[in-house]
Structure formats: structure tokens, C-alpha cells
């Protein structure tokens, strides 16, 4: 493989990995505080992309305005999902909330089919992002440089919120012990809502950038990336934000590099993530950065 090819693959992998990382953060934050796998998170990702599309084509908003609005609206959608489908089940057995999240996932997918139709839609992309730049033999889309940078900025922003603000402190407290946090006066429901809001905002950003990179919108576009991002979160250590980021990047690289070096296996591309999942669950279920949770006897 030539150096040029390698550089191209590298940026592709970095882009894909960043997109997975952004989604994975949402999964890991919700699991950290609620011990819930939010199956519907992939659909939040999808909604982020669709809302931009709606904003631009239906409301004729300038592209950047549509993006900002979409992130805000999608963020609230995530909060709404928690309020409607997960909060009532806070005291129920955990499996109930899990089943509820599966139900919300299918509901949102099919709602998107009803509202947006299942026909894949083309996304209009700002020209400067998709005109290929050439450095000697290397041909790169500006998009594949912008996405990692933007994702990095967003992740820094999130880490700032989690580690330097009061709501962030609340999140970290709840992830250690929800009951005690409640007793210590942490406004648990509000902090949980903020967590969902932040995670959904990041997922929306990821969805929008995904739609720019792979410019086809489908109601089911969140399913596979959602699974993969979740696997990345588990790989990195579910509950750990650093883990989600590292996991996402590693998964992105793995996917691109395996297909690059072994093109005959391209059809099995989606299975790699699942194989990785099985392996990590068997060898080290807590993932790279995770903590062991003991069952009290």
C-alpha cells in the first residue's frame, strides 16, 4: 500500500472513529448513571441528521442555523425519551427499562419512516467540505479533517462540563451511588435529564457529520452505527468517557484498516464489531478503562 493510500485511509479511519466516539459517549454516560443500555440512542443520532435536512429543505433555513437548531431539538428529544419511557421505570427491574428502550428504538425508527418515508434522501453538502484537496499524490476530503477536529472540540467541551461544573459533579456522583446522591441533595432527575441532553447533542452532531460523510439519509441509518458505537463504549469500558472515546477511535481504525488490507472481507465489515464485542466480553468485560461491579452476597 502506498503512503498516499495510507494517509487517506488514516483520515477516513480518524473520521469514522470520531463519529463512533461521539455516539459512544452518550451510551456510556447513560449507562454510567442509570445502568441502562439506551437502545434508542442510535435513533437520536438519526434524528439529528434528519432535522437538519428538514430545516434546510422545508424551512429553508441557512445550513448552519439548521445545524444548531437540530442539535438543540434533538437534545430535547433525548430528554423527552428519558422522561416518558425511562423515568417511570426507575424503580422497576432493570430489564423493564431495557425493554422500554428497545421499544422506543423501534418506535422512533418507524415514526421516521412514517414522517420522512423510507426512501433514502440525498443530503446537500456545503461545497467547500467536499471538494477534494490534493497534496501531491494524496487526495483528501476536507471533511475528513474537519470532523475529527470538531469532534475533538466537542469532546473537550463535554469533559469540561463533566469535570469542572456542578451538573458534571452530580453526574459523577450519581454514577457512583444514586441513592446516596439523592440523599445528599443532588437533583437526581434534573442531572439525569442533563446527561441525556448532552449525550443526545453529541449524537446529533455525530449524525449530522455522518450525513455529510455518507450523504444518504435513511430512517434506519442509526441502527448499525448505534450498535457499533455501543460496542466501542463496552470495549473502552462502559461508564468511562475516556473509554468511549478510545473505544470509538479504535473501532473506527479497525474497521477501515481491515477492509483496506483485506478487501475480500469487506462484506463482513459489520461483523467485525460484533466479534470484537464477544471477545471483549469474554476476556475483559469491564473493558479497557472500566470498573468492576461486584454483586453483594
Amino acid at each position: 500500500m502506498s503512503f498516499a493510500m495510507f494517509v487517506q485511509h488514516f483520515f477516513n479511519a480518524l473520521t469514522l472513529g470520531s463519529l463512533y466516539a461521539l455516539i459512544a459517549i452518550g451510551y456510556t454516560m447513560v449507562y454510567g448513571i442509570l445502568r441502562l443500555i439506551n437502545f434508542a440512542h442510535g435513533e437520536i443520532f438519526m434524528l439529528g441528521a434528519y432535522f437538519v435536512f428538514w430545516g434546510v429543505t422545508l424551512l429553508h433555513l441557512p445550513w448552519i442555523v439548521a445545524v444548531i437548531l437540530s442539535v438543540i431539538v434533538t437534545s430535547f428529544a433525548g430528554i423527552l425519551v428519558d422522561r416518558a419511557a425511562y423515568r417511570p421505570l426507575r424503580d422497576a427491574p432493570r430489564i423493564s427499562a431495557l425493554i422500554s428502550s428497545i421499544g422506543v428504538s423501534f418506535f422512533l425508527q418507524n415514526l421516521a419512516i412514517v414522517v420522512f418515508s423510507a426512501i433514502p434522501r440525498e443530503v446537500q453538502r456545503p461545497d467547500w467540505l467536499v471538494t477534494i484537496i490534493q497534496f501531491g499524490k494524496i487526495r483528501i476530503l476536507p471533511l475528513t479533517i474537519v470532523v475529527p477536529i470538531l469532534s475533538f472540540i466537542l469532546m473537550l467541551g463535554l469533559l469540561y462540563i463533566v469535570y469542572r461544573t456542578k451538573p458534571g459533579l452530580g453526574m459523577r456522583a450519581i454514577s457512583k451511588d444514586i441513592e446516596t446522591s439523592r440523599l445528599m441533595g443532588v437533583p437526581v432527575n434534573r442531572v439525569i435529564a442533563i446527561t441525556f441532553g448532552l449525550g443526545s447533542a453529541l449524537a446529533a452532531a455525530s449524525g449530522i457529520m455522518w450525513a455529510l460523510r455518507y450523504p444518504q439519509l435513511q430512517p434506519i441509518m442509526g441502527v448499525i452505527p448505534g450498535f457499533k458505537a455501543f460496542i466501542a463504549a463496552v470495549f473502552g469500558g462502559i461508564g468511562s468517557i475516556q473509554g468511549a472515546v478510545v473505544g470509538g477511535l479504535i473501532l473506527g481504525f479497525m474497521e477501515i484498516m481491515i477492509v483496506a488490507f483485506m478487501p475480500s472481507l469487506a462484506g463482513y465489515r459489520d461483523a467485525f464489531a460484533f466479534v470484537l464485542l464477544i471477545i471483549i466480553l469474554l476476556i475483559r468485560p469491564t473493558g479497557l478503562f472500566g470498573e468492576k461491579l461486584e454483586d453483594k452476597v
Partner: protein, 348 residues
């Protein structure tokens, strides 16, 4: 054999006889569409019973059912299609030997489908059943997806994304309800014995079960394997019923449908599963009306594609939020209960 058991056996035999008469009548008097629904009900009950054994009774949150169904479906199809059919079907890549020549009668093919699925159940269960709760769910889901991706790519065996068309439709009411009764019999026998009690103890409190000398891993694996067997049987029957299968059929949504039946009927209730199977299958079919145009007087309300699943998923949400135990909770129908009812009425 004591008197009560004798009475129950007789009553059960009578019930089976009544079912037989009903099927006989249905074959002659109902149209193809209604018979198809009845067939689907039987297959769905088999699938739901197998999931209920694993999840409702043993407490293993397995989301991999679609994978086992796929294995059963493909195995059975390869066995009931003739070599000539297979030669015509595999256009991109010829069918691999021995799959190209093997053939078997329908009942053998269905059993083979179940056995293959059970084999995969052991292979998957051995590493995965050590995991708890959520992790088991996503691990089994992962395996189901891996199976699906392989089905999509193993051209010489599964015909890849094209799948199989023209699978012989040996499936009819007798086969499907026959297998349904077999499944019901096995599950009831297992659940009502002390073996069944042990499975339930694993569900209720695994720590206490282990302290009481239960080798929980062994029992989990047994339950998982038996459940996978019947999932494979269900998949096999489905293949012959629908006469076409392809990897897209075995997405997570298939597991979701079966899970819905189990939850709606009541986790840990066999009666509930049977009732849930009937209700959900009928509901899914009935809901098709929202996707077709509806004429009310002079107005035509256009059909809304996708609305069916919107309503369906909302129903699941409704059940899990407001009536988590489903129709039956953990209660079961029993002849004792029925007679008790009459006795009370009589006394009152």
C-alpha cells in the same frame, strides 16, 4: 398414577381432540389468508415458548433468538429443497457439497434445523452464559448479528443476500400445530418438575440457588440449548411456511416480535405465551389496515406505511410502562383452577 393426574391427562387429551377437529374444519372451510394466520400463530407460539423458557423461566435475557431461527430455517430449507432446485437457485455461486445433494423428509429436516440451532446454542452459550443481565443480552444480540452477516456472505451455502425462493411448502396446519403441541408438552413437562423449579430459582436469586447446590451454569446452558432447539424448529417451520427466506428476515426486529409476545403474555407463564401468541399475531395482521388506504363513505384515507410498527412498538411501550406483568403475569391455567371456579359458583 393418581386420580387427579388421570383426570388431567383425560381432559388434556380431549382438548387436543377438540383442536384436531377444529383444524380439520378450518382446512375445509377457512380461506387461505385465515389459514396462513393460524399457521403463523402456531409458529409464533413455538418461538415464544422457547424464548419464555430461556428468559421468563430461567431469567436469561437472550436477544439472539433471530440467529437460532435463521439457523433452523436455512438448515431445513437446504434439506427439503431438491438438488435440482438448489442448482437453479444458486446462480452466483454453485451450492457447496454436501449441501447441494443432501435431502430429507420434512419432519427430519425440521428436527435437523432444531438440532443445528441447539448445537449453536451450546457453542454460543458456553462462553456467553457466564455474563449477567444486560451483557448477556448484547452478547447474544451480537451473535445473532454475526450469524446474519455470515448468512449474507456465505454464498455457496446460503445463496448470500438473494436467499432461498420456492422452498417446498410442506407446512400446513397439521405440521405446525403438531409441532406446537410437542413444544408445549416439552416445556410444560420441564417447567412443572423440580427441574423447572430449579430454573425458576436461578431466575429469582442466582446467588441463593448456587448456595443450595445448584450448578447454575449447567442448568442455564441446558435451558438455553433446549430453547435454541425450539427456536430452530420455529425457524424451520417458518421457512416452509413463507417459502422464501433471506438474511434481511432475521434482523433484530424478529427477536423483538417474539419478545413482545412473551412480555405481553406474561414472563414466566406458559398460558400467557399461548394467549400472547394469538393476540400479537392477530394484532400484527390486523394492524395492516392502517397501511392500506381506507374508504369511509366518500373519503379515502391514504395508507401510511410504517404506521403498523409505530402502533406495535407503542403497544409494547404501553405494556412495559403500565402493565409489566402482561396478560397472565406468572399465573397459569390449570384444570384445578377451572374446577375451583365452578365449585365457587356452585356454592354461591
Amino acid at each position: 398414577m393418581d386420580a387427579k393426574r388421570k383426570r388431567n391427562y383425560t381432559l388434556n387429551a380431549v382438548l387436543v381432540g377438540v383442536l384436531g377437529l377444529f383444524l380439520f374444519w378450518a382446512n375445509g372451510h377457512l380461506d387461505g389468508y385465515k389459514i396462513q394466520i393460524m399457521n403463523l400463530i402456531a409458529v409464533n407460539i413455538i418461538l415464544a415458548l422457547s424464548l419464555n423458557l430461556i428468559y421468563g423461566f430461567t431469567g436469561l435475557f437472550s436477544l439472539g433468538h433471530a440467529g437460532f431461527m435463521a439457523i433452523g430455517a436455512y438448515t431445513c430449507s437446504l434439506l427439503i429443497m431438491t438438488p435440482v432446485q438448489k442448482e437453479m437457485l444458486f446462480i452466483l455461486d454453485p451450492c457447496m457439497w454436501p449441501f447441494s445433494v443432501m435431502q430429507a423428509p420434512f419432519v427430519v429436516a425440521v428436527i435437523a434445523g432444531g438440532l443445528m440451532a441447539a448445537l449453536f446454542g451450546v457453542i454460543i452459550g458456553l462462553p456467553v452464559l457466564r455474563l449477567g443481565g444486560d451483557y448477556l443480552g448484547i452478547a447474544t444480540l451480537g451473535f445473532a448479528e454475526i450469524i446474519r452477516v455470515f448468512a449474507n456472505n456465505l454464498q455457496p451455502v446460503t445463496n448470500g443476500a438473494l436467499g432461498f425462493k420456492g422452498i417446498p411448502d410442506f407446512s400446513n396446519l397439521w405440521w405446525n400445530y403438531g409441532w406446537c403441541l410437542v413444544t408445549l408438552f416439552v416445556i410444560v413437562r420441564l417447567v412443572n418438575s423440580n427441574f423447572g423449579n430449579v430454573l425458576k430459582s436461578i431466575r429469582d436469586d442466582e446467588v441463593a440457588a448456587r448456595a443450595m447446590g445448584v450448578n447454575t451454569f449447567k442448568y442455564k446452558l441446558t435451558s438455553f440449548t433446549i430453547g435454541s432447539f425450539f427456536a430452530g424448529v420455529g425457524g424451520a417451520l417458518l421457512a416452509s411456511l413463507l417459502t422464501t427466506i433471506d438474511p434481511k428476515m432475521f434482523l433484530f426486529i424478529l427477536t423483538f416480535n417474539v419478545l413482545m409476545i412473551v412480555v405481553a403474555g406474561g414472563l414466566g407463564s406458559i398460558t400467557g405465551t399461548v394467549l400472547g401468541g394469538i393476540v400479537i399475531t392477530v394484532l400484527l395482521e390486523w394492524l395492516r389496515f392502517v397501511e392500506n388506504p381506507l374508504t369511509l363513505g366518500n373519503f379515502e384515507i391514504p395508507g401510511v406505511p410504517g404506521m403498523r410498527m409505530v402502533v406495535f412498538s407503542l403497544s409494547l411501550l404501553f405494556i412495559i410502562l403500565y402493565k409489566r406483568e402482561g396478560i397472565m403475569g406468572m399465573r397459569e391455567f390449570s384444570w384445578d383452577w377451572l374446577f375451583g371456579l365452578f365449585r365457587k359458583r356452585g356454592e354461591a
